[in-house]
Assembly symmetry: C2
Homo-oligomer: 388 residues x 2
């Protein structure tokens, strides 16, 4: 590993800051208790970090009062990991239990922290979900008939949207590591390999270059463009004239990069080179526009102006926030009014339909700073690199 590998984890101050900002927002909205159930939310406020969330068996709860420390109400199997994260108040139950999935303990803890008629804020809006059995949530509302459950999505998105310096370092490290894997792609991938073989080879390159996980790798290959950018790789062999695209969400210390690169398999038609150049130019325009005070729609229109037929590729946006999740709020759409602020990390992701269902995409990751954006990815070459 190179000397400039960032520190893993966060200093305690990071979580104190996040909590303080949350509690400030809660006071402004008269929320007594914030209630979180998902991986990203609980990790954001505690540092509790595990892949164990992939198991759907157990619910996990975090309660943050308007002042004071957060309280974790979690299955016993996670108590040690939560203690290591620095959470002081942990209420654990034996799970899986025959009937009760922590609901009893959750109710008791809510009443202890905020009384029976509390205002319990939880994220209920866009980009969110409730990760617990719906029947248990319904039971919770019945057991606490005086409680209210207002939506705190806007508050949560506003907090998470602006990254700390330590968060940016992690994203940047994921970007640079995956970037080295892209540099090495031509040494490992060749015409004649199946898409699946090419994907496996690329995943190994990413791990060799120091990412923790290749959590997301989609892409496509096809003569003069691809038709779908979210399907798994197929058995189809890479053929001269194909464009091969990898779109990767590699993770380092719990933070994602999300960018793609296109490769020409030996030689592609001139219209494809032209389309790639157009996307590259559109990305330049997006980058130019990504200044504090601009809104997401401004970025969209800056890129769309260079892309006749923009939107025809069905992607629905030209970039998004990035951080603990592969995609985060906000979205770069024609109407999104979210104003860019220093500390926001965004992807620029213009796409272009080429007719006939074929498409091309291009993506970079950037940080918004006071004095303008900087790229976290090393800029893609204007002309597609060649795979032999």
């Amino acid at each position: 590993m190179s000397e400039d590998t960032p520190q893993r984890g966060f200093v305690a101050q990071e979580f104190e800051n996040r909590l303080a900002r949350l509690q400030q927002g809660m006071r402004a909205q008269d929320i007594d208790l914030a209630f979180f159930t998902t991986e990203a939310e609980i990790r954001y406020f505690t540092g509790f970090f595990t892949q164990f969330w992939q198991s759907p068996t157990r619910p996990w709860f975090l309660l943050a009062p308007q002042s004071g420390n957060p309280v974790a109400v979690i299955p016993e199997i996670g108590a040690e990991c939560m203690r290591r994260a620095g959470v002081k108040d942990i209420r654990a139950w034996d799970s899986p239990a025959a009937d009760d999935h922590g609901l009893e303990l959750l109710c008791e803890t809510i009443v202890e922290l905020a009384g029976e008629g509390a205002s319990i804020g939880l994220p209920k809006g866009r980009e969110t979900a409730l990760r617990m059995p719906l029947a248990d949530f319904e039971a919770l509302t019945l057991r606490l008939p005086g409680a209210r459950f207002p939506d705190i999505t806007a508050l949560l998105l506003r907090l998470r949207m602006v990254k700390s310096a330590a968060e940016v370092e992690k994203i940047a490290h994921a970007c640079l590591s995956a970037g080295r894997a892209f540099d090495r792609a031509p040494e490992a991938i060749h015409a004649g390999m199946s898409e699946r073989e090419a994907f496996q080879a690329f995943k190994i390159l990413c791990l060799e270059e120091g990412v923790d996980d290749v959590s997301y790798l989609v892409g496509g290959a096809g003569r003069g463009g691809y038709r779908d950018i979210i399907s798994p790789p197929s058995a189809r062999r890479l053929t001269v004239g194909d464009v091969l695209m990898f779109d990767t969400g590699c993770v380092w210390d719990g933070y994602f990069c999300d960018f793609d690169r296109n490769f020409a398999v030996r030689d592609v038609a001139q219209d494809v080179h032209d389309a790639h150049a157009k996307l590259w130019e559109a990305t330049e325009a997006g980058l130019e526009a990504a200044k504090p005070g601009a809104c997401c729609a401004d970025l969209f229109h800056a890129m769309a102006a260079l892309l006749p037929g923009a939107g025809s590729a069905g992607v629905g946006r030209m970039g998004h926030g990035l951080g603990m999740q592969l995609t985060e709020f906000p979205s770069i759409t024609a109407s999104d009014p979210t104003v860019l602020q220093p500390g926001m990390v965004m992807t620029l992701e213009p796409s272009l339909g080429l007719g006939d269902g074929r498409m091309l995409v291009h993506e970079e990751n950037l940080l918004v700073r006071e004095d303008g954006p900087i790229l976290l990815t090393r800029r893609a070459p204007q002309r597609m690199p060649v795979i032999g």
Copy 2:
């Protein structure tokens, strides 16, 4: 890849069977329409397969009427992938949109398929969650005041619990591929490496041996045992006297293995070897008990009888179902009454507290058949292999 790599995907009949069994259960419960929102549910009934679910931006909906074909109500970006999966009736909306996250289209489609006063079944119980903004679900119930939303968790778990031959093949292939990576661990992992370096080396071995993704790799190392089995790897260096454990959920064609292996770093104390032998024997007893007609609690007690102090390791169960998700219903607990049936794929996962917070775990994967269980994993050696 070896000649016995199974076919990828499924024949259309597989999805017809799943749907027919669902619809049979819906008729028995008087459910007009089944409503699904999660990756596993939608893939189970359609074959729609993508890592794109990692993006929380967009909700996805599948509606299955009591008879006839399912209808997908999804963002435009997934339409091509859903078409390839063979779904005929796709209603797509441009997403992300400024206000509406598909709710309008969802409501219309529900009313078209089942009327305004329908009984709309959805999974609301253990192991489930609703993957859509809660506020949108609340709005849905208000827009359809005559509709009811009964819980169909039991039906869904009953269906998914019993695997088809094609599903078993995929799980078995993941097990064997990861097994070869475990065989090769001593060639790549040595005392003096950090836990992180050991994890990276093992992930690369898994990919080289043919798994599609190392979606889950947790574990631990420590002198004479480990203290936590869900945390990410640390910077701590493997030291003579450590036990190193990898617990891996590798994925092949969308299906998981989930098993672990322990390694002695050069030499471990005799009490650790003894504990490993006890876990191995307990697994034998669980395997012996895993016959059709036995219930999960029988398996638990068969293993617990050989493990004094069982449960002290805080894991909460000694195995679980396995398939499209790392862990699936049912759980092997002291009280789970679920009866084993041919076609169920289970893990056996006894654990043992060694005092002082140290623990050891051991795990195998099996298929229940008419004439008894067979292992899908190649049985772990009774004595821990050594890492040099």
